[in-house]
C-alpha cells in the first residue's frame, strides 16, 4: 500500500532523491532506529497515538545516511513558526558533521516519521535537542561512522576527526581519509539509538548557534508554503477541525451519508 503523504513530505523525499520504501529496501544506507524494547520507556504517555501509523512497514527511524552521503532525518516535532524545521536541520548537520545543505528533514508525517506526540509548550527543544531522540540519533550515527572509519583506516578512534562528511586521521594532512558515502557504500547498516552516544560540545559547534536563514521563508513570502489548511490527501473532499463539546470527548460515530453530498473537488 502506498502511504498517503502530504505534499510537503513528498517534496522532501523528491528533493532527497528517493522514496522511503526505496530507502529501506535500497542499495546502501545507515539507518538509526529505536531499540524496540525501549520505545515505551522513551515516549511514555505520547504512545497513545500509536507508534505504527498507516502504511509504512517501519516508522521508527530517525536518521538515514544514503550511499550518496545525503543525510535524511525524520522528526515528529513540527515547525509552525518557531523556526524548528531549520533548527532541527542545524542540529542534524552539527551532530553529523555535514554541511547544512546536505541534510533533508521530513517532519510530522505520521506515515513516515516517529510519532512524538504533540508539538507544544516549548517541549521540542528538550525532546529533540538534548541527549535523546533526534540529537541522540545523529550522535549515534556519527559515532557509528567513526567506528567504521577506524576499522577502514586502521587508526585508533581517538585520532579521527569528522568534518564535512569526511573522516580523517588527525595530523595525517588528510592523506588518510574516508567519505561517509564510502563507509556506507552499497551496504545496509541498521543501528539502534545508543544512549551513550556523546553530543558534540558547544565549543566545537559550527552550525548550531549560528544564524541560518529559515529554509521555509521563500515559500512563505511568495504564497507557496503549505499550511495545515492547504493539506490535501488523496480522495479528500473537505477537511475541517472539529472540536469536541467537552474535554476528553472521543468520536463515537460519523454520519457518513450526510457527507456523501459533498462535491468532489
Amino acid at each position: 500500500m502506498k502511504p498517503h503523504l502530504t505534499s510537503d513530505a513528498r517534496r522532501a523525499l523528491a528533493n532527497a532523491g528517493f522514496t522511503r520504501r526505496a530507502f529501506l529496501q535500497g542499495s546502501g544506507a545507515l539507518i538509526v532506529t529505536f531499540a524496540s524494547a525501549s520505545i515505551s520507556e522513551r515516549f511514555g504517555g505520547v504512545l497513545a497515538q500509536g507508534i505504527n501509523g498507516a502504511g509504512a512497514a517501519r516508522l521508527d527511524s530517525w536518521i538515514a545516511i544514503g550511499s550518496d552521503g545525503v543525510v535524511s532525518a525524520y522528526t515528529g516535532k513540527c515547525d509552525f513558526g518557531q523556526g524548528l524545521y531549520t533548527a532541527q536541520m542545524q542540529l542534524v548537520a552539527e551532530e553529523l558533521c555535514v554541511p547544512f545543505n546536505r541534510v533533508r528533514l521530513i517532519q510530522c508525517d505520521t506515515s513516515m516519521t516517529p510519532d512524538q506526540g504533540t508539538t507544544s509548550g516549548q517541549q521540542s527543544h528538550p525532546a529533540n535537542f538534548n541527549t535523546t531522540n533526534l540529537a541522540l540519533a545523529a550522535a549515534t550515527a556519527r559515532e557509528t561512522l567513526l567506528t567504521l572509519a577506524a576499522a577502514r583506516l586502521g587508526a585508533p578512534l581517538a585520532t579521527l576527526v569528522a568534518k564535512d562528511g569526511v573522516i580523517a586521521v588527525n595530523d595525517s594532512g588528510q592523506s588518510k581519509r574516508v567519505l561517509y558515502a564510502e563507509l556506507v557504500g552499497g551496504r545496509k547498516f541498521e543501528v539502534s539509538l545508543d544512549s551513550n552516544a556523546k553530543r558534540r560540545h558547544p565549543r566545537e559547534w559550527t552550525v548550531l548557534g549560528t544564524a541560518v536563514p529559515r529554509v521555509d521563508m521563500r515559500e512563505m513570502v511568495t504564497g507557496r508554503f503549505e499550511f495545515v489548511h492547504n493539506v490535501k490527501v488523496p480522495g479528500m473532499l473537505h477537511g475541517a477541525v472539529v472540536r469536541p463539546p467537552s474535554v476528553g470527548a472521543t468520536v463515537t460515530s460519523v454520519d457518513e451519508p450526510r457527507f456523501a453530498i459533498c462535491p468532489a473537488s
Binding site: R218, M220, V221
Partner: protein, 154 residues
Amino acid sequence: MAIMLTVNGRAQTIDVDPATPLLYVLSDDLSLRGPKFGCGLGQCGACTVIANGQAIRSCVTPVNAVANQDITTLEGLGTPEQPHPIQQAFIDEQAAQCGFCLNGVILTAKAFLDRNPRATEQQVQQALSGVLCRCYANVRMLRAVNRYAKEVAR
C-alpha cells in the same frame, strides 16, 4: 452564475453563487495559497488581495463585487525563484514567524507604497496598523517594508 475575474494576469470564469466570498473562490476553486482565512470578519487582514490597485479583504468581499477586475494575490507578485523586491526584503529581514499574516502585510504595504512611494516610516506604520500579526514579528516586518520603501523611493 458565471463570473469573470482576472487573477494574477489570467482570465478565469467561475461558476458560483455570486455572494460567495472571494476568498473561498481563490482558495477552493483556484487553489491559491496566498490569501488566508484568518478571522473571516475582515478584521485581521490575512485574506488581503489587491483588486484594481486597492488592498481589499477577500473574506468579506462577495465575488460578484470584483467581477471583471484585476486581482493580484501574494503568488502573483513573484515566485520562490524570482521573488518581487518587497518579498525579497522580507526574506532579507527574515521577517516572519509562522507567516500566516505575511500575505496581508506584504500586499497592504505594496498597494500603499504603489500609491504613496514617498511615504514616511510613520505613514507606513499607520498603513499597516490594521494588519494583525499575533507572533509579534511586526518589528521585523516594518523593517522589511521600510527597506523596500527606500528602494522604491530611489
